[in-house]
């Protein structure tokens, strides 16, 4: 029930937007979105509301953590 789906904004009119989710079009509300999102950008949609912009380049920290753990392990094994 708590799943939110990344969807691309294809049209925008105030707080209303049309998004494309896996090829289907849906009308959603942007009322809960904390920042501006432009046509063409991706938002996470849950039950008809965009709840966050999806930042593709945000994953660096977690990847850093993971890399650190793996390096440590692999160093011991070697």
């Amino acid at each position: 029930m708590c799943l939110a789906i990344p969807s691309r904004i294809i049209e925008k009119n105030g707080f209303e937007a049309t998004v494309d989710v896996y090829g289907a079009r849906r009308k959603i509300s942007l009322m809960l979105l904390p920042e501006e999102a432009a046509v063409g950008e991706y938002v996470l949609v849950h039950a008809g509301f965009a709840i966050q912009k999806v930042e593709e380049d945000a994953a660096s920290d977690a990847l850093g953590f993971i890399e650190e753990i793996l390096r440590a392990l692999e160093a011991e094994e070697a």
């Binding site: 029930m1 799943l3 809960l32 996470l44 849950h46 039950a47 920290d61 993971i66 650190e68 753990i69």
Partner: protein
């Protein structure tokens, strides 16, 4: 599952760490969507040393029998349209479920979004539209948003019956359960999109347990598991975010502000677990015109008269399953009297319920 090289390295890393730890590790996936993803991708079988335990994170499963009864009573009132999410239709109450209420003539409608319920109220001014609003922090801001809109537009024939629940207070209660044996937590991704990472701090700071907010793909869950074991190995406990594409430390301030404006913490009844103080959301005093609990107070006051009983179905162990104390196969009704086609308890109703997931994908012990 097809595994890319990076994930393959991580799987090896997890196996090595499990070898070092040298005992089975028990991880709780709090969220029902994680439960399904873990099953679907066969992650339960992938790591012998890990026992994944389902937590209380399926909103359908934790909606109490009394709350379903209240929704049924409201739906029977003259002129009422009761709108709710499809998952809620078959959740058992003591007066039957909403599907049954509809078969008996009540106007119960399934909506995809809270916005649809508000649209109904706009379109049918002579009816009283009630949105039976369930879900965690991911869903609650949408309910706040429609109350905001209804108020702005002066819509009078609309109210919300809120049985919203909050994840951190439930985890706090869970962590003080005697006999709970969990080494670390996979925390829900989209709940955290709204609330951020801070409300979980107590898990690490007070209880000394590692916790990682995880995304929903197999790769996400493997990475988050690696991060959890990494913390255990280093003997530290922290709340870390694996799912950084969707979760910021501060959450979604706009959604949080709307929730804060219209809702206040209220004690909530979790199915099978019981009442947990300040673990739910009630509508604030100033907006009682939109609060179905107030609007229909007369009807709801007559619960006992209507024959509603507060007990859970006899023999159902949902409460223990939701707290990681039992696996579904340990319930004697599992797969026999209780199946997805004819569920006895709520954990078997939703596809995200752990009993339903075990049934569908076949968990250990089955």
């Amino acid at each position: 599952m097809a595994i890319n090289r990076q994930t393959d390295r991580q799987v090896k890393g997890i196996r090595m760490m499990l070898g070092e730890i040298g005992r089975p590790v028990r991880l709780m996936e709090v969220c029902g969507t994680h439960t399904v993803s873990i099953f679907r991708h066969g992650l339960r079988g992938m790591f012998e040393g890990i026992r994944f335990l389902s937590g209380p994170g399926c909103p359908v499963c934790v909606t109490s029998s009394e709350d379903v009864d209240r929704a049924v009573l409201i739906s029977r009132e003259p002129g009422v349209i009761l709108a709710t999410f499809g998952d809620m239709m078959r959740v058992p109450g003591s007066l039957g479920n909403l599907d049954y209420a509809r078969a008996c003539g009540a106007d119960v409608r399934i909506v995809y979004s809270a916005l649809d319920a508000l649209r109904m109220a706009r379109a049918e001014r002579t009816r009283r539209v009630v949105f039976f609003s369930t879900g965690f922090e991911t869903t609650a801001p949408g309910a706040a948003a429609i109350i905001h809109e209804a108020r702005k537009e002066g819509i009078k024939n609309f109210s919300v019956y809120s049985v919203h629940k909050l994840v951190p207070p439930a985890l706090r209660a869970l962590l003080s359960t005697p006999g709970l044996d969990v080494d670390g937590f996979l925390l829900p991704g989209h709940v955290s999109t709204i609330i951020g990472a801070r409300p979980y701090e107590f898990i690490a700071a007070d209880k000394g347990k590692p916790a990682v907010i995880a995304g929903f793909s197999a790769e996400d869950i493997i990475s988050a598991t690696l991060m959890l074991l990494g913390q255990m190995r280093q003997g530290r406990a922290a709340v870390e975010v694996q799912y950084q594409t969707a979760v910021r430390a501060e959450g979604n301030p706009k959604a949080l502000a709307l929730m804060e404006e219209f809702f206040e913490p209220a004690s909530a009844n979790w199915r099978g677990i019981g009442t947990i103080p300040a673990s739910g959301l009630g509508i604030r005093e100033g907006f009682s015109g939109f609060d179905a609990a107030k609007v229909f107070a007369g009807v709801l006051g007559g619960m006992e008269r209507a024959g509603a009983a507060s007990s859970e179905p006899p023999g159902c162990s949902c409460g223990d399953v939701l707290r990681g104390l039992k696996i579904p196969a340990e319930c004697r009704l599992f797969g026999k009297k209780c199946t997805p086609e004819s569920p006895v308890g709520a954990c078997m109703v939703s596809t995200e319920g752990s009993c339903a997931a075990y049934y569908k994908y076949g968990g250990p012990g089955r």
